[in-house]
Amino acid sequence: MSYALTLGNESLIARPSGALHWPGQQLLCVSDLHLGKAERMARRAGALLPPYDNRETLARLEAEIEAVGPRTVICLGDSFDDGASLAGLEEDTRLWLARLMAGRDWVWITGNHDPGPLDIAGTHRAEVQIAGLRFRHIAAAGGVGKADGMANAGGVAEISGHYHPKVRLAGKAWRCFLADAQRMILPAFGTYTGGLWADDAAFDGLFGPAALAISCGGTVARAMPKPRASTRSR
């Protein structure tokens, strides 16, 4: 069961998978796929993790695409674990990705893990704005529009990734969306990804007092008040 919310003036749906659906634009947005993570660890002489992360991530992405049928897909950055990850993809993974991309607009937002020019089809952007929503990898500190001199009053809300937020609920850790009326941070969609607790100080300046954490990872997206650093010890 998904959770519907309004960001800026747009109606959005936070899906239990951790993907964001924007029905008004037939748009699906996912963040931090970290494709090639296991391969990168191995390349750097670290542990040899089970090499099944790419197929698991793509299988879940495919299921979301089939469920939503988006015209546009935005990957919010850190889609690849590093600059060499794309080149290191197995042939079948590459073909699988190409199949998913076929027939729709696909936007790769640049992330800190995958800054370079990527040799893959689709549109490559540092950030992109569609109607009243601006998509970028890392949330801009301060007012939402300030990074490029736009006034917040313009009604532009922001959607970003990067932090991999997670939250505690019923004694278990869940990936989560964080959102208030002006800003939303997506959970990591990649299989081999950890998280940052929702009450971490990194989120302090980004959200207003009415912010929500929307847990996902199960079959239901559940909203709750976002735990705040300042109330952590109260």
Partner: protein
């Protein structure tokens, strides 16, 4: 025979010391390739182990490492260094002794590698690290002797398994190496001897006088169920007053906390009493240890954290609260009292409930008869072997045939097949996945017949991750607004996650109120006078050993029980009248209605872990048979299941194959498996240890091992690490082998007694905490019935 050098002999004479016979005997056996010395606490074991080395180094001084001493505890290594200094400095012997543990500083460690002392005292982990360096062959080339202290304790864990592999490595580097094992009393000396080396001579020291041990009987009979022994606090305080220093052992930390809390409330004389267990902060434990050595404490409430051989001075009484579950541990604990050779140790057993009266009696009999228990440990686990292969590769290229030949000289790995070894090597080198993804990035590569690290820089990470002790993720507990203050202790992260502000729990003997979480610290405030929400953190659940179980069943078969307290004897007599007492040859099941529900009790006597597993599997079988079970509870001796329909014949539920199938399915998604997987994944080098500091800042970079477990189960269910996890879980918390044993013993003789009402032996089970609900058809039927009654009451049916 080796002589005692004059310098040492003179010094002993001057001090008025005479050697014990077993100490002379160790000198006589100095040249033997391997010797296991079994001696009681206080028997001068350590000196016996070192005497040949002191003699050799005095007679023919030589530079370089001569003797390596390995203890399971850092503190013990430091202790021994001080103790050795006395004879060495006293007799003015030209011998350098140093210790090397995780606490040794960097420059000292560097110097030790360049110029090793003659005697080096260390731990298995520090030895593994030393052996992982390229210069290991040079450091250990002249090694003459290795002394393994507290071998009985090491041999029960993966640290011991790792230790035997390290010994095999040392033997290769120094073929003339002689091995000495020092151990407290154990049940099967030949097995421990094989663990040490293939041809080990055994030397049994005089065990000393029999301990003075009895059951502590109280005016109030023990309660019907539960643990903790709080009913006996007045009697225990009385004992504390009568002795100099009393150790009060508990089986779990939570019980120790609860007991300590109530003991203080009753301690109107303000006797100095401390508490010591593994969840307390190191500072707090050290303070209690110091006070104890100084003789400032009259009693210490403690758990197994006090079990190992640190010298506790003036203890003259040990009280064991709750049935000891295991005779060997009891004997070793009793050894803590009167830590002097040739003086009997004094101990009291306090049964925590009515059933434990029988169990304590069985333990007393076992101690008097000198029989000890112990479960055979089974073959060496392969996650430890994976780490050993990585360690070996860090020190330099190796030949697979030679390494295999070396590994199978280690006791626990003697039965390892070449195929198993090759699978292990393949896992380390390539990941061992069905999808051969890492051809370019193999961890180990084969070049000209030798395996080596593909990237030599990997050695740094491998070294950081050596060792087989897996820390549970814990959080410190502090009083709020005392940021700089001493932490009260630590709780498991999983326990902290279940707390909500306002919850109260016990730590360090005080009731505290959970306030919140701040920067990986649990903040609490004092809340005296409130009832704590019982803290279940870190409760090690020991299962009663097979030997004790057998003795309990034997006691049940007596005609009368003149040597049991009257309340317990009459309880057993009544059980015999209305039903019967369980025995070892038949599996007794009782089926009766009680309080509107049907009940089934299975007296399996297989220990708590196995009875719990049995509860899960039987309720599943009952669910499938349409018997609508609602829940169950397990103890060391029985499982009680309640449900809507009566079980007329329990035998069909015990189909071993069906139980096994059920186990596989149930295990898959189980938290126990995920925890076991995490430990094996760290030991085998699949994931790195998370270091406290890194956890605070690194965050997104690390992810849960549960994700790896789920991924492997989905895409590579036959993977080596899943096999290892299953093997580990089966012999640990799941304890399925004891269910198999129980069914084997019964050999189809499963008797179901259908009775009109609850039986005396079953009654205490109804008071046990830890009831586990079954979410199945029974719940649905209850809901249906309730709905139908409501409809009927409203006239709608």
């Amino acid at each position: 025979m080796m002589q005692l050098p004059p310098a040492l002999a003179d010094w002993f004479t001057a001090k008025g010391w005479t050697l014990h016979p077993h100490q002379w005997e160790m000198l006589a056996r100095a040249g033997d390739p391997a010797t296991l010395l079994i001696a009681p606490t206080g028997g001068g074991k350590t000196l016996a182990g070192f005497l040949p080395t002191l003699a050799e180094l005095t007679t023919s001084p030589a530079k370089g490492l001569h003797t390596l001493y390995i203890s399971p505890l850092k503190a013990l290594a430091a202790d021994i260094r001080r103790n050795l200094r006395t004879p060495i400095e006293g007799a003015n012997l030209p011998i350098r002794v140093e210790d090397r543990t995780g606490d040794t500083n960097y420059s000292q460690r560097r110097r030790q590698r360049a110029d090793p002392p003659q005697i080096l005292l260390t731990t298995p982990e520090s030895l593994a690290l030393l052996l992982s360096y390229e210069d290991a062959p040079r450091i250990f080339a002249g090694l003459q002797r290795v002394i393994l202290d507290e071998l009985h304790a090491l041999a029960e864990s993966k640290r011991g398994d790792q230790m035997t592999l390290l010994l095999a490595r040392l033997q290769t580097l120094s073929p003339g190496l002689r091995r000495v094992g020092l151990s407290a009393t154990v049940e099967d000396p030949p097995a421990l001897a094989r663990y040490l080396a293939p041809d080990t001579g055994i030397l049994l020291a005089d065990p000393g006088p029999a301990p003075d041990i009895a059951m502590l009987e109280t005016d109030t009979p023990p309660p019907w169920a539960g643990g903790g022994g709080r009913y006996a606090i007045p009697a225990i305080l009385e004992q504390v007053k009568r002795h100099r220093t009393t150790l009060i052992f508990h089986n779990t930390r939570a019980q120790a906390e609860l007991f300590f809390h109530d003991l203080w409330l009753a301690n109107t004389d303000d006797l100095p009493i401390g508490i010591h267990h593994g969840s307390l902060s190191r500072e707090q434990r050290e303070r209690v240890e110091a006070a104890m050595v100084a003789g400032a404490l009259r009693a210490i409430v403690c758990t197994g954290s006090l079990d190992l051989g640190i010298d506790w001075g003036d203890v003259d009484l040990v009280i064991q609260v709750g049935a000891p579950k295991n005779v060997k541990r009891l004997v070793q604990r009793i050894g803590r009292a009167n830590h002097r050779y040739n003086a009997p140790s004094k101990a009291l057993l306090l049964p925590a409930n009515r059933f434990e009266v029988v169990e304590c009696k069985a333990a007393l009999d076992a101690v008097r008869d000198g029989t000890l228990d112990g479960e055979p440990r089974g073959p060496g686990p392969r996650d430890v072997l994976c780490q050993h292969v990585l360690m070996t590769a860090s020190s330099g290229p190796f030949d697979a045939d030679a390494l295999f030949a070396e590994v199978i000289t280690a006791g626990p790995y003697a039965a390892l097949t070449r195929a198993e070894f090759d699978a292990t090597l393949d896992f380390v080198a390539t990941g061992g996945y069905a999808l051969r993804a890492y051809d370019r990035w193999q961890r180990l590569k084969l070049t000209q017949g030798l395996w080596h690290l593909r990237d030599p820089r990997a050695a740094v990470v491998i070294r950081q991750n050596l060792g087989t002790i897996i820390d549970v993720e814990t959080l410190k507990v502090r009083l709020k607004n005392r940021a700089g203050g001493t932490p009260l202790g630590e709780v498991e992260e999983a326990f902290a996650a279940t707390l909500t502000p306002g919850d109260t729990f016990l730590i360090g003997g005080q009731v505290v109120r959970y306030e919140g979480l701040r920067e990986m610290t649990v903040e609490v405030s004092r809340q005296p006078g409130r009832d704590p929400k019982v803290a279940v953190f870190n409760g090690t659940k020991f299962a009663t050993s097979t030997l004790l179980t057998q003795r309990i069943l034997d006691i049940f078969q007596q005609d009368r029980w003149p040597d049991l307290p009257a309340h317990t004897a009459s309880w057993l007599t009544l059980q015999r009248e209305v039903s019967r007492l369980p025995d070892a040859h038949t599996l007794l099941c009782e089926s009766f209605p009680h309080d509107g529900r049907e009940h089934l009790v299975v007296y399996g006597f297989s220990g708590r872990n196995a009875q719990q597993t049995l509860g899960l599997l039987l309720t599943k079988a009952m669910e499938e048979a349409g018997l609508a079970p609602l829940g169950f509870v397990a103890t060391d001796y029985a499982t009680l299941i309640w449900g809507l329909d009566a079980v007329q014949d329990a035998a069909p539920l015990f189909d071993l194959t069906a139980l096994q199938d059920g186990l596989e399915t149930w295990l898959a998604g189980n938290a126990v498996m995920k925890r076991t997987f995490r430990a094996s994944a760290i030991i085998s080098g699949l994931i790195e240890r998370s270091h406290q500091g890194r956890r605070k800042s690194g965050r997104q970079a690390t992810f849960s091992s549960d994700i790896l477990y789920d991924t492997l189960r989905k895409y590579d269910p036959g993977h080596l690490l899943l096999q290892i996890t299953r093997e580990e879980a089966m012999r640990g918390l799941i304890d399925f082998s004891r269910i198999e044993d129980m069914l084997g013993r019964a050999a189809g003789r499963i008797e179901t007694r259908r009775l009109p009402r609850i039986t005396p032996l079953a009654a205490p089970l109804f008071l046990e905490p830890g009831r586990i609900p079954v979410q199945g058809a029974g719940r649905e039927r209850l809901a249906d019935e309730a709905a139908r009654r409501l409809m009927a009451a409203a006239g709608l049916a």
